[in-house]
């Protein structure tokens, strides 16, 4: 019984922190995290943040109290200061999603997509086709990713001596960006290229175009950054970027594992950039 007790107390426990709003969008990352955790026999504590019910501060407090061995954080869940607090307690952490800006030191791992580079390259590929009227639609659920996308777009415009002015944002009176966009594109002529972050935003856009008699992709093109099965189910099918999201989760958990045992391989560098590929579907033109 004592031996069993010792074995129990040695179990490694990892906290995963995510926003409730993002469950369905991050489900594959979560699958990758859970599958690798299972291989190493880790226990997983799930923490969620939910507007009006549980704040990030409460979550941090509960993580610190429960003395977990490591933490996986999803970007867009926390502020710099909150990361700082967790860091003070010296809990090994891996942030999965986008690149952490201004990382203070080397004790935080980061498995990320370089959204700034993605946006920069994509916009430049459209400049080469002679298309410069481009809109970027905000997604309030992923503000740090939006920030990086916007920087990439602005950089591309600046280098060509132009100014990027079509960042489409909306206020909180709308229940969802789907509702906002449905209304917005009833009255606003769309750019030649519209970049949205999520599937529902791109679907709102093609529905609005359909109702207004605007042809996609002849008169306007649209791409959703995050790929999703629904993008290939709707008509026209919507172009997007493929991220290996399951792999990001699996790699993030494995990186944390290595950090927990002070593996030499990750002592110097805990930043892992993940690649992406463009998926051409029916809402964009190849010419």
């Amino acid at each position: 019984a004592i031996a069993q007790g010792l074995a129990l107390s040695k179990t490694t426990t990892i906290s995963i922190v995510m926003s409730e709003k993002l469950f369905s969008y991050n489900s594959k990352i979560l699958n990758g995290l859970m599958d690798v955790a299972k291989i190493y026999n880790y226990n997983i504590m799930l923490h969620t943040t939910s507007k009006g019910i549980s704040k990030m501060q409460d979550v941090i407090e509960s993580i610190v109290k429960s003395r977990v061995d490591g933490v996986i954080l999803f970007n867009d869940n926390f502020s710099e200061e909150e990361l700082e607090v967790l860091h003070l307690y010296q809990i090994p952490m891996v942030v999965v999603g986008s690149k952490i800006e201004d990382k203070k030191d080397g004790n935080v791992g980061n498995v990320y997509i370089d959204f700034e580079k993605l946006a920069y390259e994509f916009v430049n590929s459209y400049f080469e086709k002679g298309i410069t009227d481009i809109s970027l639609v905000e997604d309030k659920l992923n503000l740090s990713m939006m920030h990086q996308l916007r920087q990439g777009v602005e950089k591309a415009y600046q280098e060509k001596g132009m100014k990027f002015e079509k960042y489409i944002t909306y206020d909180d009176t709308y229940r969802s960006s789907y509702d906002f966009l449905t209304e917005y594109f009833e009255t606003t002529k769309p750019s030649e290229l519209v970049i949205t972050f999520r599937d529902s935003q791109a679907i709102a856009f093609i529905n609005a175009c359909h109702e207004a008699g605007i042809k996609v992709p002849e008169e306007t093109q649209v791409v959703a950054i995050l790929d999703d099965k629904y993008l290939r189910m709707v008509r026209p099918t919507i172009s997007s970027f493929n991220f290996p999201d399951y792999d990001m989760g699996a790699i993030a958990m494995r990186l944390l594992t290595k950090m927990l045992v002070n593996d030499e391989a990750v002592k110097e560098n805990k930043d892992i950039e993940i690649g992406y590929t463009y998926i051409q579907r029916q809402t964009t033109r190849l010419d």
Binding site: G32, V36, P244, D247, A250, I251, G275
Partner: protein, 88 residues
Amino acid sequence: MKQVTVTVIDPVGLHARPATVAVNAASKYKSDINVAFKGREVNMKSIMGVMSLGIPTQSEITISCTGEDEDAAIAAIEEVLRAQKIIA
């Protein structure tokens, strides 16, 4: 050393869940187990290694096992991957 060359048929390739299934299967054996694709070879017990190969669907991969349990290992790995419809 035991070696087998197989074709990946999972639509996502040897990525995502299929990669974890492969690593999980390999990790159960003591032998050194490698997977090779297009001239690059990595430790098949390493999640990061296997995922870094970027193996797409319809690829030929070679799995090799060296060690005391190499026979059991190669047979079991092939069986698991086939049962999960990851290889043909």
